[in-house]
Symmetry: C2
Subunit: 144 residues, 2 copies
DNA sequence: ATGTAACCGTTGCGATTGTAACTATCAAGC
DNA sequence: GCTTGATAGTTACAATCGCAACGGTTACAT
């Protein structure tokens, strides 16, 4: 008989924490901006690291290329994102935010900073940074 | 111009860590046991806390009731889970593992313990427990 | 007992997902 | 220039998801 504690099983605990945090943040931006979670993630990556191609985004963030392709279509329809055919490699498209996309991204980053602060409100600053560092260490543990 | 760092935005970092960890563990049990992630989560909750009803499971783990309903159907078809109509309240069904379900659950908990250990291999014991505690604190921050 | 409201779990539906196949483009060898 | 193999991104398909509606059961007030 093994002793096993589901609540302290790291993948389960991470899933629960991530699910709650994503859901909580979605409640803030979801209705107001009409974005799904995946759209949000794609938008933020483009806003933060763009212009970049879909495959670069896929490598960076680990998203599936179909997920990106479809999220970009939706963001393009909202006129928040533009695709410009790469002139070095015409298979790729550089993804960038439009003016409206940038404005919304700005607003969203403010909401994000506020939400992050509220989640970590009773954390010491050092605890918060060490938590983030630990999460990165765990991610690094896992082969692609 | 706000300064915002996606990599240190907690919901994003949590999502990434959870995704990698779930995917990594899925690579271990997925093929061998033929389980999806949601099936795994339902199975483990029944194994750890069963017998319990679907709604009790939903409250405990925060899963959607349709997710549970469908996962239970699949686990029942594998003869790993049994549903017994509650005799106090005949709307509910007590979910329990069958003999075979228990055997597989045992094997899976061992794999889970090994995987958890490998993820935390270069963590001090104290760091690991504090990480789990911090995750729970964050979850507690979020209203249902 | 009877009606009303609340609850449990299932199912239909539209939306979203990943896998696999596809088109288009590029790079390398000859 | 032409073929071969790899890569970028889209699309078809089946599976899964959450929402809403449903049938069946319970609790409670009248």
């Amino acid at each position: 008989m093994t002793d096993f504690d589901l609540e302290n099983f790291l993948p389960y605990r991470l899933y629960q924490a991530a699910e709650r945090a994503s859901e909580g943040f979605h409640r803030i931006y979801g209705e107001r901006f009409g974005l799904s979670r995946t759209e949000w993630r794609v938008l933020f990556n483009i806003g933060q690291y763009g212009p970049l191609s879909a495959s670069a985004l896929s490598k960076r963030a680990g998203f599936h290329k179909t997920q990106i392709s479809r999220a970009v279509v939706r963001l393009e329809n909202k006129r928040w994102v533009e695709r410009v055919a790469g002139h070095d490699d015409r298979r790729t498209h550089d993804l960038t935010l439009t003016g409206e996309g940038k404005r919304n991204f700005q607003e969203l980053t403010q909401l994000a900073n506020e939400y992050s602060a509220s989640l970590l409100s009773d954390f010491e600053h050092g605890d918060a940074t060490s938590l983030l560092a630990q999460l990165r260490r765990i991610e690094a543990c896992i082969a692609e």
